[in-house]
């Protein structure tokens, strides 16, 4: 990080303020429990953990979105636009050459009125601020994926399992293979289901997980074994959705074709169409704006609708220069009973300056 990055960050933040955002600050130390609840144990491999004798485990903020959402949910007025600028901290065990602290400048919109317009506002603002740089923009929509999974018509149990692992493509595929009968049942499970009374050997009972919980899981396994496998056609539909990769309007056309056999997609596609209109209205050339259905699946789990990234293709060594998306569900999880549609994104000034060769 250099002085020019700091100056660039200030300039970006000022631009976000001009776009109507209120500047906010968040603590560098965040309670670890909230982040662990959201991301699970994996966050420990990506964030620095420290300890406070009174407050317990704390993390050096790995991003701003979570504290900004918490702040808004506790005392924010509606609608709201926020901007922030500061360092985030990430452990880089697998890539020691990457920076462990770097600047992020962000812009977030909390607004119920018109989510498609808010999506377009964020994207168009980012595209405008970064228009001098050789970046490829790519978009996606996690809402299309969740609609596709819901549209499979699998049991509630299978649906929940697939949704839980939507952000882990390999595990998601394993589950699809299992539910479609492509991978056979593991021998241990086959043996368990063949037993008349497996609970008879559940002895002695130790630990917090109770006999009733074990029995309930065996019931669930029996029910799952009795459920017909997902058909090859159903799996093919999911694969077709995941494979969509084309400029926005063409991607929408392709998804509409798929929706003939997977009508549950339609509401998500209506939202996607409205977003494309809103983007056009803001001057974005959607005919050249890439849409990749799988985009955003491996990033932070909180995005649940529109997602976007701006990537320096000539510099594969750099992280995405900007990323963002919609996170309605996160406001619900952190809102203690309240929720509000929200969308936003961050720019990494250091990466921008490196593109210019100045950092």
């Amino acid at each position: 990080m250099s002085l020019v990055s700091v100056a660039k960050a200030a300039q970006l933040r000022a631009a976000f303020e001009s776009a109507g955002a209120i500047p906010v600050e968040t603590g560098v130390l965040q309670p670890a429990e909230t982040l662990l609840d959201l991301y699970g144990e994996d966050i420990r491999a990506r964030a620095y953990v420290t300890h406070d004798p009174v407050q317990g485990e704390m993390m050096l903020r790995p991003d701003f979105t979570v504290p900004v959402v918490q702040m808004h949910m506790s005392d924010g007025a509606e609608p709201a636009r926020y901007t922030y600028s500061g360092k985030v901290f990430r452990r880089q065990e697998r890539h020691p050459e990457r920076p462990v602290e770097y600047l992020q400048v962000g812009f977030e919109i909390f607004d119920r009125a018109d989510p498609a317009a808010a999506d377009a506002e964020v994207f168009a603002l980012f595209a405008d601020l970064l228009k001098g740089y050789a970046l490829r923009a790519v978009t996606g929509d996690i809402g299309v994926l969740t609609a596709a999974v819901a549209g499979l018509g699998a049991s509630e149990r299978r649906h929940a399992a697939l949704m839980r692992h939507l952000w882990r493509p390999r595990r998601f595929r394993q589950l699809l293979d299992r539910f479609s009968g492509k991978t056979p049942m593991p021998p241990t499970r086959r043996a368990l289901l063949a037993e008349a009374d497996p609970m008879a050997r559940a002895t002695p009972m130790i630990g917090l997980r109770s006999e009733a919980e074990i029995a309930a899981r065996i019931e669930a396994l029996r029910a799952d074994a009795a459920e017909p496998p997902l058909s090859a056609e159903q799996v093919a539909l999911i694969d077709a959705v995941l494979a969509v990769k084309a400029p926005g309007p063409f991607a929408l056309e392709r998804l509409r074709d798929i929706a003939v056999d997977l009508p549950a997609l339609t509401p998500a596609l209506t939202r996607m169409a409205r977003r494309l209109e809103a983007l056009s209205a803001r001057g974005v050339d959607v005919g050249r704006l890439g849409f990749e259905a799988s985009f955003g699946r491996t990033s932070m789990e909180y995005y649940d609708g529109f997602v976007f990234g701006m990537i320096a293709e000539a510099r594969p060594d750099l992280p995405p220069v900007a990323t963002g998306g919609r996170y309605d569900a996160l406001t619900r999880r952190l809102g203690q009973g309240r929720e509000i549609p929200a969308v936003g994104g961050v720019i990494r000034p250091d990466a921008l300056m490196q593109m210019e060769g100045a950092a």
Binding site: G40, D42, H165, M199, P204, R209
Partner: protein
């Protein structure tokens, strides 16, 4: 002078001495029983450094010793990008132990990582906290569970008597080193029917970070030649 780090006590030390001894390099402790000093006979200019097995990875990575004998488990847990810091020269054929994940034997429904993941999801919904796995091998176990697609768990630190944590209600499952599995069985635990997190054994490592002058290089060549690695 080439510095060779060897575990300072117990069977690991004795078996390491035996391993080198059968190859014509005699290692021995000098001074009193309690003094951590050693001698090397059979090759000139090699010094024996007696250390805790757990400290050998760090000393190798810092380049303070040139060679060291320790378990693969400790190297991989303690060194980020271990293969850039040390070279594995020879597996010594003893100190075998697997790092495994074990769950209560009464969990008749859990044998695979897929089962563990499903049980963890249900456990969290029922108990309001993530399923706790006690271990001291945080990095290795976290990587293993991520690759295995397990979520909704948390690691709790346990530096000893890990097998007892389940009965004591401080963890629901454990990840630990085991050689025979007897302690697991005695504590009513069973190993998952999956590949272990890691198969470990005593291994001779060479530091990629320790400085070597011409004389050191010659000594190292001679030593490698003598022990045949």
């Amino acid at each position: 002078m080439i510095k060779l780090g060897v575990p300072s006590k117990g069977r690991l030390m004795e078996k390491t001495f035996d391993w080198f001894g059968t190859r014509g390099v005699s290692l021995s402790r000098t001074g009193s029983e309690r003094e951590y000093a050693g001698a090397v006979d059979g090759v000139e200019n090699v010094a024996l450094v007696l250390l805790s097995a757990g400290e050998i990875p760090r000393e190798l990575a810092a380049g303070r010793i040139h060679l060291g004998v320790t378990g693969t488990d400790l190297i991989r847990e303690k060194l980020v990008q271990w293969d850039q810091k040390v070279e594995q020269m020879a597996e010594l054929g003893f100190g075998h132990a697997d790092l495994i994940v074990a769950v209560p034997a009464c969990w008749v429904d859990v044998d695979t990582l897929d089962d563990l993941d499903a049980a963890a999801a249900a456990f969290r919904a029922r108990h309001g906290h993530r399923l706790r796995i006690a271990t001291k091998y945080h990095r290795l176990v976290r990587d293993y569970l991520r690759d295995g697609g397990v979520s909704d768990y948390q690691l709790v630190d346990s530096q000893g008597a890990t097998e007892g944590t389940v009965a004591n209600l401080t963890a629901e499952a454990i990840a630990d080193i085991t050689s025979t599995g007897e302690t697991l069985r005695a504590n009513h635990l069973k190993v998952l029917a999956e590949e272990p997190v890691l198969r470990s054994q005593a291994t001779l490592f060479r530091s990629r970070c320790a400085p070597l002058d011409e004389a050191d290089r010659a000594t190292l060549r001679l030593l490698r030649d003598r022990i045949g690695v």
